[in-house]
């Protein structure tokens, strides 16, 4: 019987299964960061248990780390304690790799894993972080877990799971100029809603997906969680294999050949059955901008802020009204007239080299508007940062009035010092526009790196297709 990619991955990891479908799933890769792991390590110790397989662990500090003045260390004492707790836990327990604060390969865990070849096709990848769905771009069964499950994986190398339903999202056609994977992700969420993927493992397919780079596929799978899905998946192809060649933890020699032969089987078979299929035409996707406090509150750059009066569902209508009030917007305002205070280019969604190239291509020879108080570029990792510098991208950003920062999660969730002040409006390449996400009272509009750059130049949202 033809199998979906998800079927294949699931079947390959079942240790045992009960009659009711509850299964023990083996975990190949355990990514660890400082925020969601301390209680898990403590629990393990209190129970007198040892980690099952430390060589599955790849750890880094990313959420709390500052993005400037590294010489001064971490000033916030509670942040510092959390990062030091990770240091001591990893020192005690061990890991395949640890990229501590200030390490040259430190960075956002979902950038660091793939670029080091620590994320390989066919793996199960988990992390106490919802954006673990990112790694599905490599045909990995990858999803976020809570701290209790972090402890469970440390102790048993397994998770107790039930199989999700499967959804195919097919995007056929060719994306227009200036339209990126981020716009595809936002357009999908706009179409199916933030709960549209709940209970599903989503596979992204179609010619528009196949033509995306690995960076683009990671952006797309990263946002699968914002559609409510357990995971996002993209089949292995030559793009995947080419990306993985010669990465530090990628297999080599004979093992490489053997691995590649297996990886080539990681796609849905022709005729495989999905529980649900959603189709989009690539040509119909325009650059997207969110206007509200949920990623599903999104419209194309050419549109206006929607009018709650036209929403028939009273709970939704109230939600829209509350969002407009929080965002300081009125219905029917053209998106392109909304002025911004800050720009943030970064996060596990959009901080990879291709993202920085796309933003730099827009900014080259231009300057941010004077009315834009601050524009940050936070590379996803030390390696991304050095690659960008080798390409001269840092100079383009700096000349355009951007601050070129050290890697980390930064203003995506504002756990460090990078944040919005109350009422400030930001064009952000991150993944969540929730109330207070980028700082209490801060107003977030999610966009692609190219669109963030265009907004920085104009001082308000602008159609990047007019600039390119």
């Amino acid at each position: 019987m033809p199998q979906t990619l998800y079927d294949k991955l699931w079947n390959d990891h079942v240790v045992r299964q009960e009659a009711d479908g509850t299964a023990l799933i083996y975990i190949d890769r355990h990514l660890v960061h400082e925020v969601t792991s301390p209680q898990a390590f403590e629990g393990l110790k209190l129970a007198g248990r040892k980690p099952w397989r430390v060589s599955s662990i790849v750890a880094t500090a990313d959420h709390n780390t500052p993005t400037d003045h590294w010489d001064e260390g971490i000033k916030d004492p509670i942040s510092r304690q959390q990062v030091e707790t990770l240091d001591s836990n990893i020192r005690e327990v061990g890991a395949l790799a640890y990229f501590p604060f200030k390490d040259r390969r430190q960075g956002i865990v979902h950038v660091v894993g793939p670029e080091n070849g620590a994320t390989l096709p066919g793996m199960t990848v988990v992390c106490g972080d919802s954006h673990t769905s990112t790694h599905g771009a490599f045909a990995c069964m990858a999803h976020g877990i809570g701290t209790s499950e972090v402890e469970h994986v440390l102790a048993t190398q397994c998770l107790i799971q039930k199989k999700s339903k499967s959804m195919l999202i097919r995007v056929e056609g060719q994306l227009g100029k200036g339209v990126t994977a981020k716009d595809v992700a936002l357009a999908i969420i706009g179409k199916i809603g933030t709960a549209g993927g709940t209970g599903y493992a989503i596979e992204f397919g179609g010619s528009a997906i196949r033509s995306l780079s690995m960076e683009g596929r990671m952006t797309l799978c990263n946002m699968a969680i914002e559609a409510g899905a357990r995971m996002g998946l993209v089949a292995v192809d030559e793009v995947t294999i080419e990306y993985l060649k010669d990465r530090p933890f990628s297999p080599r020699g004979e093992l490489w050949d053997k691995a590649v032969a297996y990886w080539r089987t990681l796609h849905s078979d022709p005729g495989a059955c999905f529980d649900c299929t959603v189709e989009l035409r690539a040509e119909e996707i325009l650059p997207q901008v969110t206007w509200g406090t949920s990623p599903e509150m999104v419209v194309p750059i050419t549109a206006c802020v929607p009018d709650p009066a036209r929403e028939p569902d009273p709970v939704k209508r109230e939600g829209m009204e509350r969002a407009l009030q929080y965002m300081g917007l009125t219905a029917n305002t053209p998106i392109q007239s909304i002025r911004i205070d800050k720009v943030f280019i970064g996060s596990c969604t959009n901080s990879r080299i291709e993202d920085l190239r796309q933003a730099a291509a827009v900014l080259k020879g231009r300057k941010k508007a004077d009315s834009v108080k601050q524009a940050l570029v936070v590379p996803g990792s030390g390696l991304v940062k050095r690659q960008a510098e080798a390409e001269g991208l840092d100079k383009i950003f700096i000349a355009a009035g951007f601050e070129w920062r050290e890697p980390g999660c930064s203003m995506c969730l504002a756990m460090n010092a990078d944040r919005l002040e109350p009422g400030e409006r930001c064009a952000s390449t991150s993944n969540r526009n929730f109330e207070g996400r980028q700082g209490p009272g801060g107003r977030t509009h999610l966009v692609s790196p190219a669109m963030a750059a265009a907004a920085a130049i104009a001082g308000h949202f602008a159609d990047v297709r007019d600039i390119l």
């Binding site: 240790v15 106490g128 919802s130 976020g144 877990i145 469970h152 409510g228 207070g436």
Partner: protein, 212 residues
């Protein structure tokens, strides 16, 4: 984990879709390396008029009179009634820790976000999914009946209204057993340690590059 026993609890309404984990427990409180003490900061940005930071004396902070959970009539509530996609966003288990510490043992919603739903069961919180019509009715009753309580009977998978009306709900049988018995997942899984080791050995043979 504490055993989940039958109880009658006060219901508090939170009539919103998409309540996210950033709203349930804002990021500044995630810097703690403990599992406890998050209750006073549950819904911090909605609940207080000032900006909350770790270590503040919450009893001295100005409460937001417009936030529904601050109403006297919902003080001591142990059942939270809400709408669709509750708990969306980050995987932070600090969210169920905060709700549990606040006093909630049951959350009734039209739907839940996946990771949050999972995290509830690991902490002795029972998330119950009901159809929109039942949720609508419960919102009406909660608003119009002072001190509206529901009896939660997990063993029988029933919510019982004061008027005797019974609402059945479904729950995964394995998770139900774990809640009723207060079982530790890890202990259960380690009973299969031999099977895990055998699986791991087979995997090493078949995909050695994963263990290199």
């Amino acid at each position: 984990m504490e055993k989940f026993v039958k109880f009658a609890g006060l219901v508090a309404p939170l009539d919103r879709n998409n309540v996210d984990t950033d709203a349930i427990i804002p990021k500044q409180f995630l810097k703690s390396i403990k599992r406890s003490g998050f209750g006073p900061h549950a819904f911090d940005e909605w609940r207080y008029l000032d900006h909350g930071e770790p270590g503040m004396d919450n009893s001295k902070r100005p409460l937001n009179p417009n936030f529904v959970l601050n109403q006297e009539r919902y003080r001591g509530a142990s059942i939270l009634l809400t709408r669709s996609n509750f708990g969306c966003g980050s995987s932070r288990e600090h969210a169920p820790w905060a709700l549990l510490d606040y006093g909630f043992r049951v959350i009734i919603a039209e739907s839940f976000a996946d990771i949050f739903f999972n995290n509830c069961f690991k902490n002795g919180i029972l998330p119950i999914v009901l159809p929109k019509s039942e949720v609508d009715a419960l919102f009406g009753l909660t608003e119009h009946t002072p001190g509206f309580k529901l009896t939660v009977d997990l063993a029988e998978q029933q919510l019982v209204r004061p008027d005797g009306y019974v609402i059945g709900f479904s729950v995964d049988p394995f998770r139900k057993e774990c809640l009723l018995n207060g079982w530790d997942d890890i202990g259960l899984t380690l009973r299969h340690a031999e099977a895990i080791r055998e699986f791991e050995e087979r995997r090493k043979q078949q995909q050695p590059w994963l263990f290199a």
